[in-house]
Symmetry: C2
Subunit: 467 residues, 2 copies
């Protein structure tokens, strides 16, 4: 088999790479090991983190100006010690154009703004607060704006229609897709990647890629051996989100001389802000101490939970805010009481631990202050109307979904870089087989990964096509 | 140049590999980029973590039986989620023999036991508590025993004489040492490593190694680019311990198909237990909360500090325990007071934060309990005799020394493993260019790294010599 550009993996990153490579005039072959497109993108909410340049028309219509500098600053803060500043700057400058491109591909947006805290809209709304924009320290670093742009789709699960639209567009552009085809190894000619070996119907096929190979195979969350070696903290939790994300693209890239970075980083979340009133709750660890401003993004709060000692943390709610958590979250009621002291006793915590924490919290919340973690109103509110409840978020039994963030180091053009930082000729990558915009588990925001997949997928496809 | 076994790096790992390879009959060449032996081992305290099989004669003389199972369990707990169980089991079973071997090389031990908490003995004592053996959770996992065996040497810095002795032994065994020689690249013949290129006097020399090459080049703490990519949390602190530890051996090994694992892990410590009375102190973070049982190993406590939000943590002491910290620690007095409330105000913490923590702590300490973190007596003691002081351990300005723990994945025989877990023919590694016994920053104990370097250095040298 022969072509100009081979793309391995047909999730959002691979689809966007395919579209751009084909539009640049390349003959494109996509190999997908599954029987159809999707990957982890197809399991997602279809939300893309977009802003800058004064805001998308959706942001502006909702009254949010979003300057490029603020957007870039937020992206860098989200990447924390792992941030790739060049990627953040480039994406901040071009995200509005990227939004226009997505719409041009046929991705529909209703165009409205949905206030409040949501994991994903339960209707077909577009713009939501999907990160930690309004919370300390992010709000002090960058002027807040909502930036989660969700495909028009009723309820959760917009990732599937998003990939479907991209797939149609890729096929319309003449991209050839081979499913049930597993990439086995890359083929190098000297220092240049010129093709690969693919297993199809149990036979190995040799594929020549005259201009380049794009790895778009996803992370390694479904590969326990890789997690053990590179990201063992994920063994505290049990619900990987992925679709054959076994790290094969990372292995292929490293085998070709690439550099896998920030391999210890992972996203996790337990859906504790459902129902929405639970967003007003307070978290304490097994010592009865708070550990974060709970108005941060639910995933940032969840990631901090995993750092706590002991088997679980507790979400504390009062009668004004408690409702039954959804059963899929596997969050249980650990204790109830007419006072916080009673809850403390029922949890068998020492006297004056949890109750002290809550008395202190309520005392200051009444004054609109959180001297410990600087949680802000209106999420900051006293929890003083009994009865009181402690919900247990248990690392071993509650629903902590997660996926890996570490992967190949790439240039802003999508070239796979070797350990000295030089591009490997003919090899490109995008999405979660790379370390990209969502580089740091403690800074994740919803929509960052799809932003990274779609935007840098396009860059990789275009760069590959230009040979 | 031709030989049977080439060893790159002449610290403790390289020296032990050289001794064993030569004793197995191999013609051995050691290349060291510095002008003499030492490496990071030469900067160390010369302490080696040893136990098991009922205890060394030093342990037994001091009244400590140390069973192999307990020793192995402690090693695994120290490795936490990164532990290599096979290495822990093997070392636990053979460490007593290894101690005999060290003595046979000429490493002197006084043979006495020094009680108390010490970073290193200030005299020439042998056996100290050098980990978290008596602290929760370790004491519940493994019967405690002191296992830090320190070379007979007056005061700190026993690593230098340790390496000197090993160097003499290596040279006596016929090992040829070439200093100021920098390994540039490995040479493969098919899938086998058969030699390397070394730069000596600005000229490249080709070296043939008929039986194997042993990488013993240390970690990557002196390489800022590698730290940025793999271990960015270390940028919170500023005092790398190393001697040209730029990760070159890891790069060479990965370039040959090796697998670098747990690259995010690092050891750190701030010498807060000097003077010894400070070991009785309590740590709080910027929220005035305790975060660990302070009777753990000083490095485990220090590593937990780096996880705390904010720029610093505070060591709280009362008049019965405070003394001036040593100036090299760059620990400053942040606040003093006649009461903990006064200290709290001087630190500009909210009322009832630090003072509540200390009242709670003292209340339970008087009863011999620490309900939060299970610190144990006698380290657990009330801090209630004014005046009171808060010492500031600031991540940016205090002396937090650190080195990296991640590196090549190796077999228990010291073979470098590829990403599938298969040995790379002709390539071996030991010490901090590998991930070994000291795999996890939160579980480090003094002496683990030299134990790993010397023991698995020997394994690597012997395996290489057998071709």
């Amino acid at each position: 088999m022969m072509c100009d550009v081979v793309i391995i993996g047909f999730g959002a990153a691979g689809a966007c790479a395919a579209i751009e490579a084909a539009e640049a005039g390349a003959k494109v072959l996509v190999f997908e090991r599954n029987s159809g497109s999707g990957g982890a993108s197809g399991l997602s909410g279809g939300e893309i983190y977009i802003g800058g340049r004064g805001g998308t028309e959706v942001q502006r219509a909702a009254g949010f100006e979003d300057q490029t500098e603020a957007f870039a600053a937020y992206l860098k803060a989200s990447g924390g010690p792992c941030a790739d500043a060049a990627k953040c700057d480039l994406y901040a400058a071009e995200a509005v154009d990227h939004f226009a491109w997505l719409k041009a591909q046929g991705v529909p947006y209703r165009g409205n703004y949905l206030a409040g805290k949501h994991i994903e809209p339960s209707d077909d709304s577009t713009l939501i607060w999907s990160g930690s924009e309004t919370a300390v320290p992010f709000c002090d670093i960058a002027t807040p704006a909502p930036r989660g742009h969700v495909i028009r789709h009723m309820g959760w699960g917009g990732g599937r229609p998003l990939v479907d639209i991209l797939e149609v567009r890729a096929r319309d552009n003449g991209v050839e897709v081979v499913t049930d085809a597993r990439a086995i190894s890359l083929i190098a000619d000297g220092n240049r990647i010129v093709g690969l070996v693919v297993r199809i119907d149990n036979r190995e096929r040799y594929v020549r890629a005259d201009r380049g190979v794009v790895l778009a195979t996803g992370g390694f969350v479904m590969n326990e051996a890789m997690r053990r070696k590179y990201c063992p903290q994920t063994f505290r939790i049990n619900d990987p989100i992925g679709d054959k994300d076994d790290g094969s693209g990372i292995e292929l890239g490293v085998g070709a001389g690439g550099d896998a970075i920030h391999m210890d980083q992972f996203f996790t979340t337990c859906p504790w802000i459902i129902p929405e009133s639970h967003a007003y709750g307070v978290f304490v660890n097994g010592q009865g101490q708070r550990f974060i401003n709970e108005d941060c993004y639910h995933g940032r709060v969840s990631r901090a939970m995993i750092d706590q000692p002991g088997p679980c943390v507790y979400l504390l709610l009062d009668g004004a805010h408690f409702a039954q958590p959804p059963s899929f979250a596997r969050i249980s009621i650990a204790a109830t009481g007419e006072t916080w002291e009673e809850v403390e006793r029922e949890l068998e915590m020492a006297e004056d631990t949890l109750s002290s924490t809550m008395n202190f919290y309520n005392h200051h919340a009444r004054e609109g202050r959180d001297p410990l973690f600087h949680k802000r109103t209106p999420i900051l509110t006293p929890l003083d109307q009994g009865p009181f409840v402690a919900l247990e978020l248990n690392f071993a039994t509650s629903y902590f979904s997660f996926f890996t963030l570490g992967g190949l180091r790439t240039s802003i053009a999508g070239e796979v870089l070797d350990r000295s930082g030089a591009p490997i000729a003919g090899l490109f990558a995008a999405g979660r087989c790379t370390s990209g915009l969502p580089a740091w588990g403690h800074g994740y925001s919803s929509g960052l990964s799809l932003a990274d997949c779609t935007f840098f997928g396009r860059k990789a496809g275009r760069k590959a096509a230009h040979g």
